[in-house]
């Protein structure tokens, strides 16, 4: 009897916790679908009287959301390509070749993950400024073409689990190392590549600090920066704009949710793998 009671209690706890996690989303979507005057009325209603789907269009056109979205897409897709290519090369190098200093260099690579961004971002700013790259998307994209420590770590672990016999028999058949990477390692690495892709997508899409520092003019903003801009500067006290702000938040969030839902399995595997080293 006591055990059953405990189970019920824990189930209630789980439900309450889940509700408190979910409710802000419901509230956001509901606010995004209300009219400007409905959002500020008291007592508040959970559901809008008539769903204002036009809010999304209005939010999209009020600020330059079309170009924010496009910029975010350009940055995210380029970062994705750059990270996958360069990290796969480095991971293959660390996993399949013996060379002097390999362990120390790999440790150095991992140590980069623990470093606060602030310690490098000031010189990066002065360098990019000297190159006249400030207020372009280049500072956000280019570094990804030189690999990410997290991606290299994940891919290296995965490559090491692929039997070396496969490489060896190909080598005996006269295949070059690059051919082996393309024909054997890459196809066998698909789950790990998917994991890296999701993580890279999310961190590039959600990144706020680098765009804030490296971008100046509104036409170059990415979505998170645009959203922040909309909140900080586009406040028009004569008219409620919260419903548009909420619609814009939904627009910013939906792509991440879509990616997560379509690839949940890989995402969770990646998190677990990254936790194992602890």
């Amino acid at each position: 009897m006591g055990r059953q009671f405990a189970q019920v209690f824990l189930n209630v706890m789980t439900t309450l916790l889940a509700l408190s996690f979910i409710f802000p989303f419901i509230w956001t979507v509901s606010s995004a679908l209300k009219t400007g005057y409905e959002v500020v009325e008291y007592p508040p209603k959970i559901l809008p009287r008539v769903a204002q789907w036009g809010n999304f269009y209005e939010a999209w056109t009020t600020a330059d959301f079309g170009s924010f979205f496009l910029n975010s897409m350009i940055v995210t897709v380029s970062t994705l390509v750059g990270t996958l290519l360069s990290s796969l090369l480095a991971a293959y190098g660390f996993a399949r070749f013996r060379f002097p200093g390999r362990e120390i260099v790999f440790l150095l690579c991992l140590s980069g993950m623990m470093m606060p961004v602030y310690v490098t971002i000031i010189p990066l700013f002065t360098i990019f400024r000297a190159l006249r790259w400030i207020d372009t998307l280049k500072p956000l994209i280019l570094p990804s073409f030189f690999g990410s420590a997290f991606a290299i770590f994940l891919l290296r672990q995965f490559i090491m689990s692929i039997p070396f016999d496969l490489d060896e028999s190909a080598l005996i058949d006269g295949a070059s190392r690059l051919t082996i990477l393309l024909r054997i390692i890459t196809p066998n690495c698909k789950p790990a590549l998917a994991t890296v892709a999701i993580f890279t997508f999310m961190s590039a899409w959600n990144n706020f600090l680098s765009p804030l520092i490296f971008l100046d003019s509104q036409k170059n903003f990415t979505l998170p920066l645009g959203l922040w801009f909309l909140r900080s500067y586009a406040d028009d006290p004569t008219q409620p704009t919260e419903h548009l702000l909420m619609a814009a938040s939904v627009i910013t969030t939906v792509p991440v949710l879509l990616v997560f839902i379509s690839a949940q399995k890989y995402f969770i595997e990646g998190v677990v793998m990254s936790g194992i080293k602890g």
């Binding site: 996690f21 008291y42 360069s86 013996r98 980069g112 969030t253």
Partner: protein, 318 residues
């Protein structure tokens, strides 16, 4: 050459001269494959790291030529910059609340999900959604929820208690606790919870069965089996949580911009303000290096402390 012989007797002794040439070839190919990363590492991490150390010893404001001033920036921070100390106090308060509460919350959430209830995947997604939301969107959403006049929280307070709720983000007393709450919402169900879940699933079933035979209830099991067995995971999450909490920026920058009355003026905001608003790159770099050293020292201390309470199950066998 003799050394090489001694190493290679077991493998392909006849091809020794070729093998060593092959080794060189392999090493060169290895270097070639890691070269893009290595170049980037030097250009985007090592180079800037050393450059900022150099900047930190200069007066450098972008407008005037750089001027070597030795340790003056560090002295200014420690002795004369009251905002420096204010921001450290706020940041430590933030770390000491969000890290223990967040790690505990993630652990409890993982315990709830680990009971094998029906629809675990669905619950897990519910718990996980907040951490997926882009930070700016999450903060804006909470700013709206906590809005003093028409926000849902204060509307509920007005309906239930018939009194006005506080101005949450605009009140010096409530701003920091509000941000802590927002942080807990986004971080409890995050990667941290998934890592705990994986850790919990790695605890051998026999231990639970054995403790049950001994008459232990859920509470005893958790305290004497689960927590010792996953202490490495707890430790990992504490270190990671601390490293990121000391760098907190976005949540305060978007929600309160450090205010009101510097109540949420964290260290990284001071750094941003110095380097990218006042363009004082020298002093900003000194601030960055002090943060870097603080994180390094705290990580090492935690590493050292962990020897005292973290239990690695591998130790039993050795």
């Amino acid at each position: 050459m003799e050394n090489a012989q001694a190493f290679d007797v077991t493998t392909a002794a006849r091809q020794r001269p070729r093998a060593s040439r092959q080794e060189i070839r392999e090493a060169l190919q290895g270097y070639a494959f890691i070269a893009p990363w290595a170049i980037g590492f030097l250009a985007f991490i090592v180079g800037p790291l050393l450059t900022s150390l150099y900047y930190s010893l200069t007066r450098y404001t972008l407008l005037r030529p750089m001027e070597w001033i030795g340790l003056e920036n560090y002295g200014y921070a420690l002795l004369r910059d009251s905002l420096f100390w204010k921001s450290i106090e706020r940041t430590l308060l933030w770390t000491l609340t969000t890290v223990p509460l967040g790690v505990l919350g993630s652990f409890l959430a993982a315990l709830l999900l680990d009971r094998g209830v029906r629809g675990t995947t669905a619950w897990r997604i519910c718990f996980f959604l907040p951490s997926l939301t882009p930070q700016v969107a999450a903060v804006i959403l909470w700013v709206w929820i906590l809005q003093p006049e028409v926000g849902i929280v204060n509307s509920l307070i007005r309906m239930v208690f018939e009194t006005r709720g506080p101005g949450w983000l605009s009140s010096p007393t409530w701003a920091l606790p509000s941000l802590v709450g927002i942080n807990l919402w986004t971080s409890i169900g995050s990667n941290r919870m998934l890592i705990f879940l994986a850790g919990l699933q790695g605890v051998p079933r026999e231990l639970y069965d054995a403790s049950e035979v001994d008459g232990a209830n859920w509470w005893h099991r958790t305290l004497h089996v689960t927590i010792p067995m996953i202490s490495p995971t707890i430790f990992f999450n504490l270190v990671l949580g601390m490293i990121s909490s000391l760098q907190v920026f976005g949540v305060a920058f978007v929600a309160t911009a450090g205010g009101p009355a510097y109540a949420t003026y964290f260290y990284a905001l001071h750094l941003y303000q110095t380097a990218f608003k006042s363009f004082d790159m020298g002093y900003g770099s000194a601030l960055a290096w002090m943060l870097f050293i603080a994180i390094l020292v705290m990580t090492l201390v935690q590493q050292w402390l962990s020897g005292r309470w973290v239990f690695y199950s591998g130790e039993v066998r050795r």
